[in-house]
Amino acid sequence: MRFSGRTDELKKTVIAAVFGFAVGALTMMVYGYDPISAYIALFNGAFGDPYGLSESLANATPFILTALTFAIGFRGGMFNIGAEGQLYLGALAAVTVSLFRFPSGISFALSIIFAVLAGAAWSLPVAVLKAARGVHEVISTIMLNWISRFLSFYLIAKILVDPLRAEKTISIAESVRFPLLVSGTSLSYGIFVSLFAAIIIYLFLWRTVSGFDIRAMGFNPVAATYAGIDKWKITLIVFITGGFTAGLAGAVHVMGRPPTYAIYSGMPSIQGLGFEGLAVAMIGRNHPIGIIFAAIFFGGLLAGGRMMQLSSQVPLEMVRVVEGIVVLFLAIPELIQVFSFLREIRIPFIFQFKRSQNKHGRR
């Protein structure tokens, strides 16, 4: 991993953004939409006024946390894409606590703790499989994401279902929700949880011995192992910590996002928050502080995208295309690193999977 200066990173990001928006504008022009009015709507909707900014921050809240899941793994040389499934279970764990009637303070604390533990519990098999059988985390996290998805469908439909409104789970009790930070917007106090978590993870990775070990492992696993760093301990820490933040993301979203504070069947409100965290981590250069800004930017794209539909009549499909183009360009500098990193672990993954099946031992 190259250590380029921060201004250098900023320069790359700005250039990438300019290219992204330019290509997005061209695409809109080709399909007959006015990019100028569309971009004005986009930026006004995202950051133009306190309302737009609040919506952007509200969108950023879960993205920061799921991006951290990926970033921690990436810093340790692992490709953890399990945030999606862990987030589902975190959200469900928080809702589950609302089945019981504890005093609100206890209920709040339990919701958070359960969510964090659920995320970690869903992450644990990944670490164990990797350590014990050499199963690559990409394979196991993809599988666990699906298992989590269907498990969630079951729990939503059978256990947590709202008896009066079968399309959703019971709602988080009012006293257990994150209060709104700005009334009349979607922004709750949950944003502080996300910011706090990003700072904690930053301090953990850069100011503790374990954090140093993780980064050393990611930087050069051979040298790190030679230096006496326990690879399996690092693997465990990376996935457990990642599970913590992903589970927390689920809780913060379902406990802080108005108006329903529940999960609809089919999970249309939380689906994708984990995967989009991956893009956020890329844009944020897998650095917790970078991730904060990337998440706000990404959240702003989504908030502004809604306004593109409303005030410049760009249909949602085109909005998504433009958003995708911008995000892709922004991720390019980091993607280049990821691909070189993937080469180091000898992708395609399937070879590794087969090898572990053949019991030829781990690498």
Binding site: A166, S186, H253, T260, G266, P268, S269, R306, Q309, L316
Partner: protein
């Protein structure tokens, strides 16, 4: 003197008139902004159901009344609230239409924040003075398809009709209650025509899901095994599973067309199954609801509160030819069928309907007329107790 008096009287009269005109409520209606917003759920356009119908009805109203329609789709359910709120914040819409009950909480929240903004929500109730909540008399539409099912089953010699329902919630009781009444009415109509009451029975299953298609298939297979001739899909997507089971049963007999048939729900599903395995559908005319609400705003007759649309105002209906064409267009737009399939589906559909004797269709039309003229009142149920009472009155067992 007299002249002055008459001038005074004239001035007074004119003044009164002017004041009266200005004060008269309704004549001083605020100018229209000329835009209507349509917010749909994550199913988006091309859902072949509520969203497509909402789009069609609102688009037509916008064209008829010279308004501009802005449709706002949602990527995630987390967008519902911001999308509705953004539309209200923009202060540029005469009416914001929210299609589907999933947007209930979003509309309820924003309606409170923007009391001067008019809203309409489909298929759900939001209790606010600025929200028109439109729901449908599912019991009336279900009575029609129930009567049809009972008579057609008897005609083809099937002892039962079936219903595959979703979760046991109040809305579904509307369907079941109306369907039961319709079957009973159909049995009697058959008796009047043929002299013997076929006493067609009802097999029904609450699958407990609106998404598990396999359960729809399994429930349908069980009913077909007991010789049910028509299966009413009252669980949205489960209809796909219902139709799979029906199609397999038909093909096992070496045939292509029903019986057994499915009866579609909400949207016109007659075109599915190549046009000859779904005999009819119970439509909720979301398009008419959107049109009416927009018209009410334009004409200044918009009123908040609950509007229940029945057969009389074409809120519910049994599917017919014009809707078949409309929904085939939706199907083509969504890539489910191709333009080339269209002619084949139409001819299959016509053929299927012609196989059913015309007196049955006339009987159903007669029932519809009697419901509209309020000669017949279709029972309804909103609670389990009420549902049980309807079940006791129309047991429909063999």
């Amino acid at each position: 003197m007299k002249q002055i008096a008459s001038v005074m009287v004239a001035i007074f009269t004119v003044a009164l008139l002017v004041v009266g005109l200005v004060m008269t409520p309704g004549t001083a209606q605020a100018a229209l902004k000329g835009k209507v917003a349509l917010v749909v759920d994550v199913g988006g356009r091309g859902d072949l159901s509520f969203n497509d119908m909402g789009y069609k009805g609102t688009d037509k109203a916008a064209a008829d009344f010279g308004l501009k329609m802005v449709d706002i789709q949602s990527v995630s359910a987390a967008d519902y609230l911001p999308n509705v709120r953004n539309a209200a914040r923009s202060q540029s819409f005469d009416l914001i239409i929210a299609v589907g009950f999933l947007l209930t909480d979003a509309v309820a929240t924003v309606a409170k924040e923007y009391p001067d903004q008019k809203f309409m929500i489909i298929d759900s109730v939001v209790d606010a003075p600025n929200v028109m909540s439109i729901v449908f008399k599912e019991n009336e539409g279900s009575a029609l398809v129930g009567a049809l099912a009972a008579m057609v089953a008897a005609h083809y010699g099937y002892p039962y009709v079936g219903a595959v329902l979703g979760i046991e919630i109040p809305v579904l009781f509307h369907f079941e209650a109306g369907y039961r009444f319709g079957i009973d009415w159909g049995n009697k109509a058959y008796a009047r025509k043929k002299g013997t009451n076929p006493s067609t029975g009802l097999l029904y299953t609450y699958t407990g899901t609106f998404s598990d298609i396999a359960k729809g298939k399994a429930a349908t297979q069980a009913m077909l095994a007991q010789r049910a001739g028509l299966i009413y899909n009252v669980a949205g997507p489960l209809g796909i599973g219902d139709l799979q089971a029906i199609t397999e049963a038909i093909k096992a007999k070496g045939k292509e067309a029903g019986p057994p048939f499915m009866i579609g729900v909400d949207a016109n599903q007659d075109w599915m199954g190549d046009g000859h395995r779904v005999l009819a559908s119970m439509l909720k005319r979301v398009d008419n609801a959107c049109y009416n609400a927009t018209e009410a705003v334009v004409k200044g007759t918009f009123k908040g509160g609950l509007t229940v649309m029945g057969l009389d105002v074409k809120g519910v209906a049994m599917s017919n030819y014009p809707e078949l064409l409309t929904f085939m267009e939706f199907g083509i737009g969504a890539g489910k069928i191709t333009k080339q399939d269209k002619a084949n589906i139409v001819s299959n559909w016509k053929n299927m309907r012609e196989q059913v004797p015309s007196w049955i269709w006339n009987a159903v039309a007669d029932l519809e007329k009697q419901i509209i003229s309020k000669k017949i009142s279709v029972p309804n149920a909103n609670t389990l107790e009420e549902m049980k009472a309807v079940r006791t009155k129309y047991p429909l067992t063999k």
